[in-house]
Each structure stands twice: as C-alpha cells, then as structure tokens.
Symmetry: C2
C-alpha cells in the first residue's frame, strides 16, 4: 500500500469514529470533523509529525492544537487511530465523568490546552513555537488546526503578525476552509484567494491545496517541514461533512450528529472500514531543553524612607527573582516602560518578549509557554487586560500557570482619565476559578508577592499602582498568598478599616487623624484579595463592631464584596467605600476625594458609625 | 492665499495649541498630536468635511473619531481653531472639572465616543457608517484617525473585514504612521508597504501619502469623497513631534509634554503663528434621516403549560417590540440560530447585521450605532461576550445605549462543556458603572425585560438559558428594571431562597419537596440583579432568618455577592450556592447536581440551617 493509500484508510477509520461517537453522544460536531479528517490523518500518520505516544509530555514532541475545538470527535478519533484511546472510550464522549469532553480539555492528556472559544489556538501555538525557538531551543514543530469561520476573530491576526515578527518557521497553520459557519456561509466561502492574500500580507508563507487530496496534503506537510524564516499556512479547500453525501457541503448541519437511524447509511458511504488499523507515529529525537538550575536570591533592599511605585517594584522583582525561577518568561504589550517590566528586559533580554499592543494574543501566547512548563509573567495596564478576558477565562480550563500584572490601577492614576483606569480588574480576576488576586501597597510587599506568584502554580493576578507610595514594611517581612497584615491594632478599636494598594495609605492617614481625637481604628492590609485571610478578618469581626472596606475599584466584585463573601456567616456590617461616580481626569488626590475613597471619606464613615 | 497655504497656517495654530495646552497640563501627548496635525487641519478645514458647528448632533454632520485618543491635545486644538473652544479653555485640559479630559470623553460634546483604549475607533466608525448607509440613509461621511501602533490590535482587522464586507464607501480611515510607539519603534516603522498590502488585502482602497504635504493630503481627501463600493484608507507617512526639531522623530518623547523652559523655543520653531485665525467648516445639507414612528405592540402570548427557552423568548421579544422601538438594530456574532436573534432577522432583515465571529468589533459597532441614536441589541453566547470586555468597558464612558444578550449561560448548557459556559458574565457586567443586569427565568419575564431594556437608556445585559424552562408568569404580568417577584411566601417561612434563571426552577422544586415535610421557604425571583430590589430583600430579611442564594455562575461577583452588597447593613447571613468546581461536560441535571446548585443542594442547605 502506498503511503497515500494507507493514509486514506486511516482517514476512513477516523471518519467512522467521528460519526459513531457523536451519534452516540447525541450532540457534537461530526461535519466539522469530517472536513479536516484527511488533513489530520495525513499530519499525524504521514511520517512528518513526531510524537512519543507513551509520553505526551516529552519536550521533544511535535505539538498540535485544535483551534477549532468543536472538531473534538476528530481529535479523539485520531488518537484512537494512534492506539492511545480504545474505541470503547470514544463512546463515553460528552458524558459526565468522561475525559472526552464536548470541547477538548486537559482532562484528556493529549490535549495541549483547552479550546472551544474560537480564534485562540494560533496564539497558543505562537507561545509553544516561541518556546521551542527561543527558550528550550528544541527542534519540535507546532501545528495548529484552524477553522475558516474563526479567521474573523481579530486575535488570529494578532497571532499572525507576531508569528512572522518572531520568524516562527517552526509553526504551521492548517486552515480548514470548509466554507460553512454555524448559521450559513462564511464571509468568503470557498474563495481561498482571500485567505491567501491576507495571510501572506501578514508575512506568512502560504500553500493552497485540495484538503481532500492525500497527495497534495502530504506534499504540503513535507514543504512545511523545510521552509525557513517565516511561519507557513496550509490553506485547504475542504467540504464540511466530507464523505457522507447527505451532510456533505450542506447547510443546517453545523453541530449536529447524524441521527441513529441514518448512521448505518452514513457509514456505508465511507466504504469498508478496517477497524483494526492502528497507525504509528514516529518518535522524536531525545534532546534536552536548555535548562538552568534555580539559585538562591537576595531579599529586596529598599530604603524605608524613599517612596517607590509598586509598578516599579514589580519590575525590580522580576529581575531579582529570575535566577531562582529560570523558567520565567516576561511578556508585555508595548508598555514595558510603564509597567516597568523593562527592568527585566534590560537585564534578561532573551527572556523578554515584546508582544506589541495586542493583549489577546499576549495572553494566548502566555498560555502556550505555560503548557511547555514556563512561568510567564504578563503585564500591561490593568484596564487593558480586559481586552484578553476571554483568553484569561479559557486559561482556567487549561491548568494554566500564568502570572498577570495590571499596572495603573484605579482613579489614582490621575490626569489620563477613565479610559486608562483599571476599575473592573479585581472583579474580572476574582471570577476565575481558583485564581489568586494580589494587591500590594508598597514596594517590599510587591517584591515578596511577585516571588510568591512565581512559586504558585495557577492563574494569578497582581495589581500595581502608578504613583510612588511609602515603604510600609522591612525588607525581611514575609508575605504569602492568602495572607494579610494588621497594621494598626489596639484593645479599643471600634471599627476595622480594610484596604489594599493606594487606599491603604489613605486608611493609615485616617488612622493618624482619628487618633488625635482618641479614636482608634484597626487597619488591615488585605494584600491577598483571593484567597482571603478569613482568620484575621474573623478576629477583627469579633473585636470591632463594623468593617469599612476602601478600594480604588468599582464597588462590584472588588474588595468590599470579597470581604462580605468571607464574612457571610458572621454578623458584622461591611460598609464599602469604592468608585461609584463617573471617573474623570484630575490630580490623584482630587480623584480619591471625589470618589470618596480618600482619608477624609474614611474618617467621615468611621465617625458616622461610632 | 491658496487653500494649501491656508491649511498650513491653521496646522501651525493647531500645533501651537497642542504644545501649550500639554505643557500647561504637565502631561499628555503633544508629539502624537503633531504627527497628525496636518492631516486633521486639512480634513476639518479643507472643504470636504461638513459639520454644523452650532449643532454637533445634526444627523447630517460628517463624523470624526480619534481612535488614537491620546492625541487629545490635537483634538481640542482643532476645535479651538474651528472657534468652538476658546483658547483659554484649552488651558484647563486634564484638570479636575474640565470637559477637556486626558483622553477624549463625552464631557466635551464634539467627541462622538470616548477613546483611549487603542484599536476601538474603527469599529465605532463602522457602526456610524453602517447607520448612514443602511439605517438613516444619509450621505454623511465617517472619518477615523488611527495610529500605527494600534494597528497591532486584532479588533482593527475585525473592523476592517466588516467594513469591506458591508461595502462602507462612506468610511475613511486616516492612518498616521509616525513610526514610533510608546517604548520605541513599531513592528514596521516607516515601511508603509506593509500597511498598504494588509489593508488592501482586507478589501479596502488605499492611498499612500506624505502626511505633511498639504497638497497630497488634500488630494487624498478629495479622492476619498468620490470612491465607491469599498472603504478607503489614507496611509500617511508622518513624523511624531513634527515641526519641533528636538522632539521630531525622536525616541523617548511618547506621552511627554515639552517642559516649560523649552516651550518658547519649540514655539519659535513653528514660525509666526496667527492666533486670530478661525476657520470655517462648511455645513452639511439639511436632510432627514429615515424615521418610522413607534406604535403600540401586543403583549406576549405563551401557553402556560409549554416550556420555552428564555433564549427563544429573547428572539421572539425582539420581533414583537420592534414596531414600538423602530430605532432598534440587532447584531449577532454568527450564532443567531443559537441566540435566536434569527427570529428578528427573519422578520426584519434590513435591521439585522451579521457581524460574524468577531465580538470586539460587534461591540464597537454597536457603540457607533448608539452614538447615532439607535438602540443596538447585541447577542452571542454569554461566554463569548468576555471577548469584548474592553469595548463594553469603554462604552460606559460614552453614554452608550447598548443592550447585550448572553445566551447559553452557566453549566446548565450541558454537554458542550466549560468553554461554552458563561460563568463570569454577571460579574463582568455588574462591574460596569450604572449597568443593568437582568436574568429572567421564563419566557414571559424575558419578553417583558427585553422591552424594559429597549426603553432604558444605558448599558444593559440580559442573560438567557439554553434549555426550555416552564412558564412561570401570566402574559400580562409586569416586570421592571430593579424589580423582583416573591413566588412563594407564608407567615412561617424560615429561610429565603433567592435565585434567577435556571436555578429559580430548582428553588421551586426544593420548595415543593420541603413542603412535604411541612417546611416552607420563601422563594424570590431576582430577575433584576442590578439594580437590585432592596425593598423586597429587606422585607424577607426581616421575616426569615437566613438567605440562600443559588446561581449558575461562579461565586464571585454574581447573585450571591449582589445580595450581600445590598444587605450590608442588615444582620442576615447570606449563604451562596454557586459554581465552585471545575465545570465539565454532562447532562444539564447532572451538572447542576455536581456543582451543588440543584434542588437537592438547596434542600440540604435549607435543612442544615433549620
């Protein structure tokens, strides 16, 4: 049997599996699977793709992302053809408890990262390919299967431009142009020239092929293996539902399985299927990624009497801790001189990746790095991380290990005005499963918390402040995820003021003012908003009669509600001071006053509660 | 004086104003203003742009969006040159209380929409141009000033593809390629060919010019006026800081004003400035937009015994209410057969705009429509609205009147799995200033709330459910923003269960089960999560000893925290049942049980509190 004939047999088996598994599930996307079945059969089993099926984590494996995650029946079917999934297990697809979910997730260990929100896979591929070329320095290749509908997502073009900018000749896109989207034809149907023009204008090499010709497909992969200096896109003309006449290239068959009664005739159309085929994937060379062992690092060394912006401490921390965490990579969206990630860049330029003003792709690229065991630190203005919320959200389904930093938080940034103020970021990151949300108030705690983030596996977020703030802690003070600090405390405290970041300094000012009138308040630095320090809050709730939370953030989903959530079973009133008026330009102090989150607002609130 | 000489004089005045206002403010972006000063002088005062300066709301005015909002000194300077701002007022720029904010906002009534988060203006322009061409049917033109750095944002390419798809020949982009981003050179520097290739591959006409040659600029605008069938991009080679040698084309001058001591020499370089020039902008023709008066509409007519999905009721409602709200337009991101906005499309195809899978541009386009007095309804899966969070966020600074609908909310969607489940959407929309967040449980309340949204000015969000749910209300029942319904109530209630959407039905099941054991609970349909019905909650808090909130959403920022925030000063424990485990595929009922938000979880919780 020629290689092409063999691949056709495997494709037939994969089609068969895609059909029966989705019919059995009663939902799913067989038609979107059938359009790409030939492309995937040829990729995995054509000899170019190298993968150690006994060890999906082998750092030398080629990587394959299904950006069109809804083609999950195909994904599972191909791995069944590779022998790593039993045909029986395919019949558990989409059922509760199965590792074969409706869209691919990390529950199945051959999935690099969860997909299903379209237009994200190419960014992940960029991260994985950048890791190969610039960090691990390994010859593995990265492949991304893309749908034509999802090319409408802007994130694709962000990924495209960065891939060519970084000359990722180890990245191959496979664009399955099956013409049909969910509710009808795509903008361009089968006009492959549109894709070719656009993609090549973005600096990619392109090959246009018939996506059902094994000969053309196989040749395209061979060419992809040997091109240099730029990424390559294989643009394949395909038919949705290919191989089964009554669903092939037909409207109204998106996301629908073949009915049980029609399944037999569908299978008959495929012709005889050899269910015993199990195809080999050649193993990669056993090479070692570049590795440096971690070493001990010094503690920070701030002068206690010199204010420093926490955003600057973030940059200092990245530089300081890198020797201890040599898997770190740092990404920034063209604002490294504002977030101060440039301090790291200047010291470790090989581990800094300029991602330009394209936050979605930055988050997706970080996820790609994370899947390869790197520790990505990702920074931009807190406000602009909202741009990547879908990518951030998808990370939670991929065991992502990503550290986000949002600078310029809150109205305290001043004159630049509302568009630049992060005021939803705490809410946004709190609503991510098992996330960590940190908000330090001084340089020392920032340094320690950046270090804690590096050591913690998961999605974590640190919020930094634009202006310089006084140093509150000694350089050897310890901070941990889930902790807090009681900064002012006495037996006579009547009210507890809970703050973080810029407002903690306002709380301390309020403390000093109130003390002049012999009113003492407890002041807590809630630097870890999630997880929250229940124990310290509980103790304060038992000793004082009310809580006042103060935050430079909108009232919903922020510090106030985090504290309320923690205190639901304690009977303590929680009064929230937060941004509630339309924010605007002005001096930092004017804006804190205007929004009633300054020391004077705290003082008034305390007095009203006495 | 020739027109070109006159425009040069005006450009000089605009440069002068840009310099003095930012130096006076002590911050801001004069260099990014100077690069585009010639482009803007020629646009506003070259004779092609038509604008009634006495009535910025005139529906016939040409429209200009500063997508590069940081060039606000230029924006204010040009309107000063038009005589609508006094030179004195320019000196209030960036000061607290001034309508001339750091980035343009609606505080100044010549601003179409707030900008400052990059890569959003072109989408707004698309909406404004679509309004002209397809809705108002007026000949006004829309211009968008773009920066080169912001072309890295994927949203630009989303806007680009939709603009050519809809043949927006009334839309002109002006790309100010000044080579320098915030922290250094852009990816392509002065290689204008890259932009030309990409933009023309996206179906636009392009003209490449010297952005400091009045002759070339003026000719380009003339050409732009007369092209047909496609949008046009003027790609201008410019220099950042043009006109002042020590800042021109220099690194390190982004976002920095000229110091007070250097201002004089900077101004001297401009040559003599005639501060008395006030330039005329020709007025547009006085035409009337197409208008239809609203008429009375019938109430819904659901069979009380036939379950209907709230997502379907959303589509039904759009169709039903359109005659009463003829300013409505409906946008969807290629899932109209899932969100059921297709019901509207099928009835009113001229008011339905397919936006394909590009949610960011969809939100920006909606904002454009909103600025022209339309009422955009925007739908996709709740999960995928996260893609547009930055655009949604910016809407709050633009007096946006946009109605978002997120379908397929929560784990109850079942087999498709986590990537398709909206679980952060309530948190996301609650954290928008003055937003409305609605979550109906049946078809009747959905219909009434869609109607309430149409009549309410502002950003509102409605969350719909995939599966069919029983009808709970009569067709003449009334619902309003800020309301709730007490569905079960007796003198003996010990616990109040508060729910909305799918979980309300679980609460009702729990009620029936508990009643068998003579336990009565109060059940509240909290269909308006924001604003919240304090009064009804307060009464329940006085009559029952604990609240249980139940929601198909992550615990942070959702219904539980909304209720806690409303009850901060009442001493009632609020127990939140919410999605807390990694969501997965399965049957709807299995997943509600797994996440402990089903009737059995409610029953256990109630029993534990008795």
């Amino acid at each position: 049997m020629s290689i092409e004939e063999k691949l056709q047999e495997i494709a037939k088996l994969i089609r068969y599996y895609s059909l029966i598994s989705s019919t059995n599930a009663g939902s799913g996307h067989p038609t979107s699977s059938l359009s790409a079945a030939d492309l995937m059969a040829a990729l995995l089993f054509g000899g170019q793709f190298r993968f150690d099926v006994d060890n999906p984590d082998n750092p030398n494996n080629d990587r394959l992302i299904f950006s069109k995650g809804h083609a999950s029946p195909l994904f599972y079917a191909q791995w069944a053809a590779a022998g790593v999934l039993k045909a029986d297990e395919l019949m558990s697809m989409r059922k509760f408890g199965s590792r074969l979910e409706g869209h691919p997730t990390k529950a199945f260990n051959f999935v690099e990262a969860a997909t299903g929100s379209l237009g994200q896979g190419l960014s992940m591929g960029v991260g994985i390919a950048m890791n190969a070329k610039y960090v691990d320095k390994l010859p593995y290749n990265t492949y991304v299967l893309l749908g034509d509908s999802e090319m409408a997502e802007g994130s694709q073009w962000e990924a495209m431009q960065i891939a060519s900018h970084y000359k990722l000749d180890n990245l191959t896109g496979i664009l399955d142009v099956n013409r049909l989207g969910q509710r009808g034809e795509t903008m361009y149907g089968h006009d492959l020239g549109v894709y070719e023009n656009r993609i090549s204008s973005f600096g990619w090499e392109t090959i246009v092929i018939d996506g059902h010709s094994m000969h053309e497909i196989h040749a395209a992969y061979e060419k992809a293996l040997h091109h240099r200096n730029r990424p390559i896109m294989i643009i394949a003309r395909t038919f949705k539902g290919k191989g089964v006449s009554f669903i092939e290239n037909k409207d109204g068959w998106h996301g629908k399985p073949v009915g049980k009664e029609e399944l037999e005739s569908a299978i008959k159309e495929l012709g005889p299927v050899d269910k015993s085929i199990r195809a080999e994937i050649p193993k990669p060379e056993e090479l070692k990624p570049e590795e440096t062992p971690g070493v001990e690092i010094p503690i920070p060394s701030y002068d206690l009497d010199k204010p420093v912006a926490t955003r600057k401490a973030y940059g200092n921390a990245l530089k300081r801790i890198f020797p201890a965490y040599p898997d770190m990579v740092v990404l920034d969206a063209e604002v490294s001189n504002s977030t101060f990630s440039e301090i790291f860049k200047n010291e470790y330029p090989d581990r800094f990746f300029e991602m330009y003003i394209a936050e979605q792709n930055m988050a997706g690229t970080a996820l790609g790095f994370s899947t390869r065991g790197k520790i990505p630190f990702v920074s931009t203005f807190a406000a602009f991380l909202t741009r990547a919320y879908d990518q951030i959200r998808m990370g939670q389904y991929s065991d992502a290990n990503i550290k986000y930093c949002g600078s310029h938080a809150g109205v305290s940034i001043g004159e630049d005005g509302a568009s630049q103020m992060g005021l939803e970021d705490i809410a946004m990151f709190r609503a991510i499963l098992d996330s960590v949300v940190l908000y330090p108030s001084d340089a020392v705690s920032t340094e320690k918390l950046v270090e804690a983030m590096a050591g913690h596996k998961g999605i974590s977020y640190i919020r930094t402040t634009r202006g310089a703030t006084p140093i509150l802690y000694n350089n050897d003070e310890e901070f941990h995820i889930g902790g807090s600090k009681v900064l002012k405390k006495s037996e006579d405290d009547s009210i507890t003021v809970i703050a973080a970041g810029i407002t903690l300094h306002e709380a301390l000012k309020a403390y000093e003012e109130l003390k002049k009138d012999n009113i003492t308040i407890r002041v807590i630095d809630l630097y870890s908003i999630k997880p929250i320090d229940h124990k310290t809050l509980l103790e304060a709730a038992q000793r004082t009669k009310a809580f006042i939370t103060v935050e430079d953030h909108f009232s919903e989903g922020g510090i106030g509600e985090a504290v309320m959530s923690a205190m639901t079973e304690m009977h303590i009133p929680v009064h929230s001071l937060a941004v509630r008026k339309m924010p605007r330009s002005g001096k930092s102090a004017e804006l804190l006053d205007y929004e009633e989150i300054s020391s004077s607002a705290i003082i008034s609130k305390v007095r009203s509660l006495l």
